[in-house]
Amino acid sequence: MSEAIRADALTKAFGRTQALNGLDLTVHTGEVHGFLGPNGAGKTTTIRILLGLLKADSGTARLLGGDPWRDATDLHRRLAYVPGDVTLWPNLSGGEVIDLLGRLRGGLDPRRRDDLLTRFDLDPRKKGRTYSKGNRQKVALVAALASDVDLLILDEPTSGLDPLMEEVFRQVIQEERDRGRTVLLSSHILSEVEALCDRVTIIRAGRTVETGTLTELRHLSRTSIEAELTGPIDGLATLKGVHDLHAHNGKVRFDVDADQLAPVLRHLGEAGVRNLISQPPTLEQLFLRHYEATR
């Protein structure tokens, strides 16, 4: 089984709101997969379908080789989930919630639990109602990460964490990947996805708009070039693939389509380059390009 998750053409409507509109998602076994989209794009709806909480109107979903709706109880033994909006029982302590959820899933590793509590700096004795948003999220993260499961589904797990804890989270996820676990990480923190994910899927308005490795996606996008030239340069603006050209005092700044990089660099070289900075597109630029195009 090389695909941990496969969703094809999922649709789901809530009343008149079309939450999903033909969504595709494939997560390979053993990868950390970034699931990107702005609020309301359908990330949580997709995840709830994959967890068998919601029933898709049409399309197919497979999870760990089973049907997420029909085989929910069995499949859930092999996965752990951290919701985006963690609510705890007000009168249960964090430690009790972690143990209870672990046991309901079929057991958790006490050494791993203690290690994670230390690393996330979480006091397990506090009652659910007294935790801040970030600490509630830590409770859910420890409960999920201390379980021995094949698949982790994390829905914006770091939205309440401070930068220090975000760093701990990144380390922990890298360890999980090294152990061979599959992770579906929904997020809109792009630096996090960039640092952790092997492949990403970008969705908009309930539909998949881009999917692939970061390298592949970058290939589809533009590189920013900043150059200081020794001589005058002509014809740059008319070259294929050059965008947003600014020239001033012998300096030029522009974006270039990835597949046109070679001829553009040749052209620059002919003019004489004193200094050159090239920046691959950030995920942010990729992301914004998809959303700005439709505004």
């Binding site: 919601l54 919701p83 009790e96 143990d99 959820l101 046991r103 309901l104 506090k126």
Partner: protein, 526 residues
């Protein structure tokens, strides 16, 4: 106080359905008492003997306060003596819901970040509660004047109701500052109400000085229609002002979200038994179930304790005697009394059944169902944990109420061995009907989740049918809607198993339908 007015309007808007739901019945209730006293005791002599007999009974004085005269107004005001306690309770719940619950849910922070003063939330909640109870008092006054009772006395009765609301709104406001949890704050305020009630009872039955120690005692001393003492209302207003100042002072000394009393820490690891949906449900239901069991024990003790006096009192009045016999279905007055009290206990227990079942829905909308359902727990198993409490918990609540009634009655009559079993049995006969209400709630939760709270409406319908239906001589077909109509009038009538069996079967079918719906629908539906 910037923004308090806007928040007040927000609260009144949020409560626009809920508040009238308790104000109107409570304001109408005294008029109902006046009408029935007028019908049952039409002459001054009959009223006098009713007043004398009532005053001689400690149990009734404990419940309603002392009888201050034998006029229609005095007797009505006496009979309405428990309503202020109910108003106090509802006001406490209202104030805590709009202060500490808001804070616990984090909505206070949301509003606190906008342009509102630091005490605006507290001020708005208190103002809302005071407005609501004053409206209740005003309506009571108008309705009583409408019954051709003296205007001054009617005003005093309304003022009694309103002033109780003011005081306990402020008590709730203080309690809300103390703890971080709304549940604990409610407990503190309700304990204060309980203490005030016990002091009033102790004062009326024994040491008069104790009456002075209880704000509820002052309220009783208003004596509507008899003396119309207005200073008690002034005293209540002064106490309200003092408690409000205290609440504001406490609120200024603490952070948003924090309480003045520290929150206790819990265990770092779960007990070995906390490993199933049922064990989780126990943790979520135990406080509610304990409170209901304690309440039923107390109500049972009162109902059983006054039973003997009640039947002697009723024996003197032929018409009342006939009426009780008609409701109960037999001539034996004590048995008729127990049969109608059993219905009362059954309807109240159905309230627990609905409340406990709706926890299932609250877990769903609070997004606390998700972590359990995404662990290896089927929906049926998750629901079964909660249903164990709504079904078996109802049985426990009814058994307690029946046993406490039987125990108190047995002890007063010296016939414990005989009474305990049959009175407990009378209460337990109600179980299948209460289960039907729980099952209706499950069915709504499974099939029409957004309308789950409509189960309260179904219960309200049963209350109307079974409490006033016989007096109002409702059509039999309407009476038949309520499952409680079909129960045998035990102990006045023999137990017939057929209705118990088919009501249980109906409850089973409705529950199964609800669970079927729950297994097939989306979760959460919000």
């Amino acid at each position: 106080m910037t923004g308090a007015l806007k928040l007040l309007l927000l609260i009144l808007r949020r409560d626009r359905l809920l508040a009238p739901l308790w104000i109107i019945p409570l304001a109408l209730l005294p008029a109902g008492y006046a009408a029935s006293i007028n019908e049952l005791y039409p002459t001054a002599a009959a009223r006098q003997s009713y007043a004398d007999a009532s005053a001689a009974m400690g149990g009734l004085t404990a419940l309603y306060g002392p009888v201050y005269g034998s006029g229609l107004g005095e007797l009505t005001a006496w009979r309405a003596g428990f309503i202020p306690v109910i108003i106090a309770l509802l006001t406490i719940l209202t104030v805590i819901r709009h202060t500490r619950t808001e804070e616990e849910a984090g909505r206070r922070e949301l509003i606190g970040a906008t342009v509102v003063g630091r005490h605006a939330g507290l001020a708005a909640a208190l103002l809302a509660a005071i407005t609501t109870t004053t409206a209740c008092g005003a309506l009571t006054t108008l309705v009583m004047i409408g019954q051709n009772l003296p205007a001054t006395g009617s005003l005093a009765l309304g003022a009694q109701f309103a002033a109780t609301g003011w005081i306990f709104a402020a008590v709730g406001g203080v309690a809300a500052q103390l703890t971080q949890s709304a549940g604990t704050a409610r407990g503190i305020a309700i304990a204060a109400l309980g203490a005030a009630y016990l002091l009033r009872v102790a004062g009326e039955l024994g040491t008069e000085a104790l009456t002075w120690a209880s704000p509820l005692g002052w309220i009783t001393m208003t004596r509507p229609y008899a003396d119309n003492r207005w200073w008690t209302i002034t005293l209540a207003a002064a106490l309200t002002a003092a408690l409000t100042a205290l609440a504001v002072h406490l609120s200024a000394r603490r952070d948003v979200g924090a309480g003045l009393l520290p929150d206790r820490l819990g265990p770092a690891t779960a007990a070995p038994t906390l490993r199933s949906p049922l064990a989780l449900a126990w943790r979520l239901h135990r406080a509610l179930l304990t409170a209901w069991i304690a309440g039923f024990a107390a109500i049972g003790a009162v109902l059983g304790g006054i039973a003997d006096g009640m039947s002697r009192l009723t024996g003197d009045n032929q018409q009342l005697h006939d009426m009780m016999a008609r409701i109960g279905g037999t001539d034996a007055i004590a048995d008729a009394y127990f049969a109608s009290m059993a219905t009362l206990l059954g309807l109240a227990a159905a309230g627990y059944a609905v409340q406990a079942t709706l926890r299932l829905r609250a877990e769903e909308t609070g997004l606390r169902a998700e972590p359990v359902l995404t662990a290896s727990v089927s929906r049926t198993r998750w629901a079964a944990g909660h249903l164990a409490f709504s079904l078996l918990g109802t049985a426990a609540v009814l058994t307690t109420g029946g046993a406490a009634t039987g125990l108190a009655h047995g002890l007063t009559t010296g016939d414990l061995a005989h009474q305990l079993g049959r009175v407990t049995g009378a209460a337990l006969v109600q179980l299948p009907a209460a289960w039907v209400l729980a099952a209706v709630t499950v069915a709504l939760t499974g099939l029409l989740p957004r309308l789950a709270a409509a189960a309260w409406g179904v219960l309200a319908l049963c209350l109307v049918i079974n409490l006033v239906g016989a007096l109002a001589q409702l059509d039999e077909r309407v009476m038949d809607i309520s499952p409680f109509t079909h129960l045998p009038k035990v102990p006045a009538a023999p137990v017939t198993t057929a209705p118990l069996l088919w009501l249980t079967a109906l409850a089973a079918v409705l529950t199964a339908t609800g669970l079927y719906g729950l297994r097939r629908r989306d979760i959460p539906v919000t």
